[in-house]
């Protein structure tokens, strides 16, 4: 059986919009991936539990609330605590360019800012996910 890429798409933080996350989820599905969509207002703990139980290859985090500098690195940290740092983490949303180097240093593999095409995200996952 062919191995499918599994991706968790989650929205940490308190803002109430998940349109961007849904667009990504649909694009990944249409590219033949299995997307576990966990919806709004997830805590980093909930996200990491879900990622481990679902045995995903990658976690996509979307954040518009400005709390990304805290929330994204926290997810990476928790993955390490659970010996699951092989799960790749990428982020998207309204993220100032100035924050990107810091996030990458904290272990976020890639940041997609508004305007990135969904094709770029698909290509990124296909290139980086362990096969």
């Amino acid at each position: 059986m062919e191995r499918k890429i599994r991706v968790l798409v989650a929205k940490p933080g308190l803002d109430g919009h998940d349109r961007g996350a849904k667009v990504i989820a649909r694009a990944l599905r249409d590219a033949g991936m299995e997307v576990i969509y966990t919806g709004l207002r997830q805590t980093p703990e909930q996200i990491v539990t879900a990622a481990i139980q679902e045995d995903v290859d990658a976690i996509g985090l979307s954040c518009l609330s400005g709390a990304h500098n805290h929330l994204f690195p926290r997810v990476v940290e928790l993955l390490k605590e659970h010996n699951a740092e092989d799960i790749l983490v990428f982020g998207g949303g309204v993220i100032p360019d100035a924050d990107i180097p810091g996030l990458k240093a904290a272990g976020i593999k890639e940041i997609f800012t508004p305007g990135t095409s969904t094709q770029d995200v698909i290509a990124f996952l296909e290139a980086h996910v362990r096969r």
Binding site: K4, R29, E34, V35, D55
Partner: protein, 308 residues
């Protein structure tokens, strides 16, 4: 456990080896199917029921099965959205699965995942599937107890439900009982059940719930446990499981025979022949007869896969 279920989806030999090794540990979990129309509240209800069972001291695995796109094979698995809290409990394991090309039904991977959760010592395995097409009949072949979730205001749909779903339900839930028409739906279901009592001697209960307010869940859990006791005491549990094992054995052998057939006869087997059939040069039955004869010759010559 998470990795083991991935193996069930991607690497059957690994799972087979594991299940071989743990065959004595299988058969302890109580397997419950939860099905019903899209949006009936199955996931919300599954979350409530899971919380109730955990409170009563049981461990459980939840399998949330969603159909995958027939075109790309991709899927958005969104059932987990409804149960973020219970998934955090140490006695609970939640996994989303797509039906992966099994025509909307449950895949072999799903039934292997059930066995894995059983082998890992879960007291309960709850399987949510959407009640359309094949999945709802497949669920009977996997689950000991089937909960069918209906909602008020189905109207004439109740009649439509009747055909397939009445036979598979061990318990009926009328969810969204906070909506108008719940009593009516309950009455109609009870009426239908009276007309067609189950042959096993089990009285199928109809339970009203409001999953979003956690109402009626205690009674649902009571009835579910009672059904399991009924199955055990009546000997039906054993008979169901024997029938299931027999079916699995047949399915396994059937797919093995098919593999052996295609291995001996070579790849690209069907295409040309199918073209001849469509062109009217050969009949379907003659073609099948010819292939079968060739296969019999080859298998006696080569002695099957044992010789290579």
């Amino acid at each position: 456990m998470a990795r083991a279920i991935s193996a069930a989806e991607n690497d059957p030999p690994v799972v087979q080896a594991f299940l071989r090794e743990h065959s004595q540990r299988l058969g302890r979990a109580r397997i419950v199917g939860i099905t019903g129309p899209p949006g009936a509240g199955k996931s919300t209800l599954t979350g409530c029921l899971a919380a109730e069972l955990v409170n009563r001291g049981f461990s459980l695995g939840l399998l949330l099965v969603d159909p995958s796109s027939p075109f790309t094979g991709g899927a958005i698995l969104g059932d987990r959205l409804r149960l973020p809290d219970i998934a955090q409990h140490p006695q609970v394991f939640v996994r989303s699965m797509s039906s992966r090309g099994s025509m909307g039904g449950l895949s072999k991977a799903t039934s292997d995942a059930v066995k894995l959760l059983d082998a890992f010592g879960m007291d309960f395995v709850l399987i949510e599937t959407v009640g359309t097409g094949q999945a709802e009949t497949d669920i009977v072949s996997v689950a000991d107890s089937v909960i069918v979730v209906a909602v008020p205001g189905l109207g004439d749909d109740i009649q439509a439900l009747k055909a397939g779903i009445l036979e598979i339900a061990d318990l009926f839930v009328v969810n969204k009982a906070d909506r108008e028409g719940a009593e009516k739906t309950e009455r109609e279901l009870l009426h239908m059940l009276k007309m067609q009592p189950s042959s096993s001697g089990w009285t199928i209960p109809v339970i009203r719930t409001v999953a979003t307010k956690n109402e009626g869940i205690g009674e649902l859990a009571n009835k579910l446990l009672a059904h399991y006791e009924f199955l055990r005491e009546s000997g039906l549990l054993l008979r169901q499981r024997v029938a299931r094992a027999e079916q699995e054995l047949k399915d396994l052998l059937r797919s093995r025979m098919m593999q052996e057939f295609e291995r001996l006869m070579g790849p690209a087997l069907y295409r040309d022949l199918a073209q001849e059939i469509v062109a009217g040069e050969q009949s379907l039955y003659d073609t099948a007869d010819k292939l079968w004869q060739q296969f019999l010759v080859r298998i006696t010559q080569k002695g099957g896969s044992a010789s290579d």
